[in-house]
Structure formats: structure tokens, C-alpha cells
């Protein structure tokens, strides 16, 4: 399922790492789930690595472990105080540690009231506001409901934008937790429980509205009687919660085979990349994926064309790269004009060049033209040169033109070869007024 929000996707990536880290914790703290979950997990593992370079959200380990702590408290009825030292030992890196304790302290309150939404919603909203829980996993499987207690309802805690995925994750976590203590060998039974829980979760979702992905919720159709029963592992749609889930739970009515999961993962990754591309390319307000691709392709072609054009217009400028590279203090110094006129604005170099061109023109017009072009210069009629210079309001426009004795009908005027850069066109006027000996504009 594609999520519209990039945050969700981003958070998914981070949650993946969180989940990976969490898995190690889980291994030590709870009984491993048999068989079915491990297969999903392996598939998740194989699919995730490419997304991992983007991971590294320091928040996620906290969220996973904190949520885990919360759940465990719920299930086993431990006093909330235990959550704190355990959380501390987990090495939580998240800054708002107090929120975890607050959650933990609130859990027992809601324990007795099976299925009472308000507390869960309140906690959820509160946590949502604080954006504690980052992404939820790429795990698409929506697991319905939390652990039979209402304490699981806070699981829908998610970032404002990342709500859709979280519910699924949250439900997943309780399932993992539940499997341990309950040891339900019957997956189907667990499924019913979860669907029942999904109903309660859906109630919470309806109340909160935004955070839950409706298509995912249709799975939790089981009777609400299932609520309050022990958690069990199964797939259904619903609830978000801190990502702790490591297994992918397929939505109800959807195949849980590895191929579809990998497909979903792949689609999410592609959507992620598309979003990154959208930020790079201008005019990226297209909502359609196909038109977005067209835009990307056009922009890429445009950039390559720009490189080509810039390399063309650099022919004349290449001669002047020497001062840049050689780190000579005064650019365009007349001393350097001996070989190749360095800066076009330099009066001496221009005069020398003009003399050379005049001589070459007497011998061979073609080579003279080539020489000029090599410098990025061109011949133009005097009238045109004066027109250009007058257009730019240069005072002594005719100075350059009259200086060299024009052997042919058209005088050699220095003008920058046409280029796409506006500064180059300004240079034509500038060179026309070079006789002014004004310092070249920098």
C-alpha cells in the first residue's frame, strides 16, 4: 500500500532499523514466535538492506523498546514502575524519556476497562502531538487491535503524517508479545482475537480519524467480543503503534506469500525515490507518476544539453582559463597578452590581435576567420558594431573600429561569439568600447 506521505515512508525506513535493533531485544526478552513469523521476518530482512542507508533515526530504538515495555506491562500486569528501569537499561536514546514513563504510568489505569477507547485515544493524541513515534514499518500487514487490553489503544500513537502505517505496526507488536505468554499454537484462534481487537481499534480510529488507513481496517471485522481476549498472532487490519514489529502481516483477504510482501516493499521504495526526485526537479507539482517521470526525463535532457552548450560557448573563454588556473594576481594584465590575448577587455591584447588578424586576412581569409573563432571573436560590419555599442550607450563606440586600418570593406571588430550567457552579450558592447581603456567590468 502506497502511502501518500513521504514522512511515512521515511519513517518506515527508520523504523525498519528500529525493528531490526528491536529484534535483538525481543529475542532476549520474549519467547520467539515459531515458524510463520520467522519466515516473514526473513523476507523482511532480505528486502530491507537497501533502504538502510537512510536509517539511523536515533528515536526509533526508543520507540520500539518503550512500546514493548508498555505492552509487557499490560500483559503481565507488572507495575508500571518496572518500565522505567527496564527502559533505562535498554539504553534509550530518545530525549523525551519522560513520555515513556508517562505512558507506562497510564497503562494500568486503562487496564481494567477493556476496550475503553478514551484513555487510549487521549494517550494517542498526546503522543501524536509530540511526534514520538516515528515511522512504522514497511510492513504492510495490518494487525488488528492491540493486546486485549485497552492499553494497546495508545498504539495508534504515530506521527501526524505517519499514521497510516503505525496502526498496523502497533498491533503487530502486541501480537509478538502475546505469543510468548499465551503460547497460542492455534494461529487461527489468534486471528479471531485480532480481528476482534481490530474492531476496537477501528473504533478508536474512527474517533481519531486521520491516522488510520481505512482500507486496512476492513479486515478487523471480527466481533467485538474478541476484544479483551488474549492477544494472538494473526493478520488483520488496524491500529498503529510504535513500530516494534518485525514481521509483516498481510491484510485480511490478501495473500501473505512472500512475493506480495516483496512487491509492496519494492513499491514503497520506488515511491520513496520518486519523492526524492521530485524535490530535485523543478516544476515537480505533478501528481501523476507518469507525468512526473516525463518531467524528470525532460529535465535530465535539458541538463545534458546545457553542458553541451556551455562547452561550446567556452571555446573563446578557454583561452582565458590560464589566468584563473595560474592564480595570477591581476587578471588580464597586459604582460600576458603576448601569446594569446588573455582578457578580452584588455586594450593591448585586442590591438595586437587585431593586427594579427589584419595580416592574416591579407593572406588567407579562411584562416583568419578560424583564428578569430578560436578566440571567440567574429567579424561584423562596422555599422552593426556601432549599432550594438550605441544600444548599450557606450560613449566612444567608434574608437575601436577606427583604430586599425580596415583593409577590407568590413572592419574587424571584436565581438564575443554568440553564446547563451547574457554576460557574454554584454561583453560585445564592452569590447567595442575597449578603446576607452576603462577597466573591464568585473
Amino acid at each position: 500500500m502506497q502511502h501518500g506521505s513521504g514522512e511515512v515512508r521515511g519513517s518506515m525506513a527508520t523504523s525498519a532499523s528500529a525493528q531490526m535493533a528491536l529484534h535483538d531485544d525481543h529475542g532476549s526478552q520474549q519467547i520467539q514466535n515459531p515458524g510463520l513469523h520467522d519466515d516473514f521476518f526473513d523476507q523482511m530482512l532480505s528486502g530491507l538492506p537497501s533502504a538502510w542507508p537512510e536509517l539511523g533515526n536515533p528515536k526509533s530504538p526508543w520507540d520500539a523498546s518503550a512500546a514493548q515495555k508498555l505492552f509487557r506491562i499490560d500483559l503481565t500486569g507488572k507495575p508500571p514502575d518496572e518500565s522505567q528501569p527496564e527502559a533505562a537499561t535498554e539504553g534509550l536514546r530518545y530525549a523525551s524519556y519522560d513520555e515513556a514513563t508517562m505512558l507506562a504510568s497510564r497503562l494500568p489505569q486503562s487496564q481494567g476497562s477493556g476496550g475503553s477507547s478514551p484513555t487510549g485515544e487521549a494517550m494517542m493524541l498526546q503522543l501524536n502531538n509530540r511526534h514520538i513515534l516515528p515511522v512504522v514499518v514497511p510492513l504492510q500487514a495490518a494487525v488488528g487491535g492491540g493486546v486485549g487490553e485497552s492499553g494497546l489503544l495508545p498504539l495508534p500513537l504515530t506521527l501526524g503524517s505517519g499514521g497510516a502505517a503505525d496502526p498496523r505496526i502497533i498491533v503487530e507488536t502486541p501480537r509478538d508479545e502475546m505469543d510468548g505468554p499465551y503460547k497460542s499454537p492455534d494461529q487461527n484462534g489468534g486471528e479471531e482475537l485480532y480481528s476482534g481487537l481490530g474492531g476496537s481499534i477501528r473504533a478508536a480510529q474512527a474517533a481519531t480519524g486521520q491516522h488510520f488507513h481505512h482500507p486496512q481496517n476492513h479486515g478487523g471485522a471480527a466481533a467485538p467480543a474478541g476484544v479483551g481476549q488474549g492477544p494472538a498472532a494473526s493478520a488483520s487490519s488496524g491500529g498503529g503503534a510504535p513500530q516494534q514489529k518485525q514481521k509483516v502481516r498481510a491484510r485480511r483477504g490478501q495473500a501473505t506469500d512472500p512475493h506480495s510482501i516483496a512487491e509492496r516493499l519494492r513499491r514503497e521504495r520506488i515511491a520513496e525515490r520518486m519523492k526524492a526526485l521530485q524535490e530535485l526537479v523543478p516544476n515537480a507539482n505533478k501528481t501523476d507518476k507518469a507525468s512526473m517521470l516525463d518531467e524528470i526525463i525532460d529535465y535530465l535532457k535539458f541538463l545534458q544539453l546545457q553542458v553541451k552548450v556551455l562547452s561550446m560557448s567556452r571555446l573563446g573563454g578557454a583561452a582565458a582559463v590560464a589566468p584563473l588556473v595560474a592564480d595570477i594576481s591581476t587578471e588580464g594584465a597586459g604582460a600576458r597578452a603576448g601569446g594569446d590575448g588573455a582578457a578580452v577587455g584588455n586594450n593591448d591584447s585586442l590591438t595586437a590581435t587585431e593586427h594579427r588578424v589584419a595580416k592574416m586576412m591579407e593572406e588567407d581569409m579562411g584562416s583568419a576567420m578560424q583564428y578569430l573563432q578560436g578566440k571567440g571573436l567574429c567579424l561584423m560590419p562596422i555599422s552593426l558594431a556601432s549599432a550594438i555599442s550605441s544600444a548599450a550607450c557606450r560613449p566612444s563606440a567608434g574608437g575601436l573600429v577606427s583604430a586599425p586600418p580596415p583593409p577590407a570593406t568590413s572592419a574587424a571588430a571584436a565581438a564575443e561569439s554568440p553564446s547563451s550567457s547574457p554576460s557574454a552579450s554584454a561583453l560585445t558592447v564592452q569590447s567595442a568600447a575597449a578603446a576607452d581603456t576603462t577597466a573591464p567590468k568585473r
Binding site: 556551455l310 567556452r314 578557454a318 582559463v321 583564428y371 568585473r442
Partner: protein, 150 residues
Amino acid sequence: MESKSYTTGSRDNANRNLEGSKTLMASHFLRALFRIQQTSTTRSSFAGRRRRIRRAAYASMAYSAGTRRAWSRALLRKLRSRARLRFPRRLSRAARPQRGDTDQAQVLRKLVPGGPGMDYCKLLEETADYIRCLTTQVRLMQTVMDSISS
């Protein structure tokens, strides 16, 4: 003066403003430009010089990206093989014909170096980095040209 910032050799203050990769790109490109200017005479064709400058641009792009990226690796391979006077490549790089590719994906593969060898997801990722590097290179070339013209 802005042109001073591109005087390579010494990392002066202006250069420190650039990121490491941008500085690398700029120095490499400028040195290549200088070499081209030195080796090309007035008789050498302008098309040849254009091609050389363009190749220098792509070379500095690939050099700044290094071997971290698939596109830069493919680009370096292409540049070096051309320098070796088009020897027939012994191993044709694994260009598995991707099935189920949209037309746009095929076009993208042709545009991005190393395109044929990756799957769609990786192609998008490489395209993003390639575009980023291209924009930096274009901006660099524009700045150099402006500083030359001023």
C-alpha cells in the same frame, strides 16, 4: 573577485565555502580546461575542442562522485575505454534486458550512465544523484564562464 575563488592550488577562503566534492569538481574541471587550451591550436577543429571540453565536464563529475555511485563508475568506465581508443570490451557489462519496463524507464536508462544494468528502483536512485551532480556541474561551468567574461 569571484574568479579568484577558482584559482586552484591554494584553498583560499572562497573555496572553503564549497563542499568537498564541489571543490574537487571545480579543480579537476579547471585543470582539464587549462590542459585543453594548452594542447589545442588554432588549427584544431572547434568541434573537437567542444567534445573535449564536454568530456572534461563529465570526467570531473564522475571524478567528484568517485566510485560510490553506479553511474559514476559506469561513466568512468566509458571515459577510460574511449581513451583507450575504443578497444572492444571483453566483458559486456551485465545489461540484463529488464522486463516490464515502461517506455519512460527505457528512456531513463539511456540517459543515465550505467542505466541498463540496474533495476528500476536503483535506476531512480541513481537518477536522483546524477541530476544533483549535473546541476552542480552546470552551475560550475556557468560560474567559470561568467568569471572569464568579466
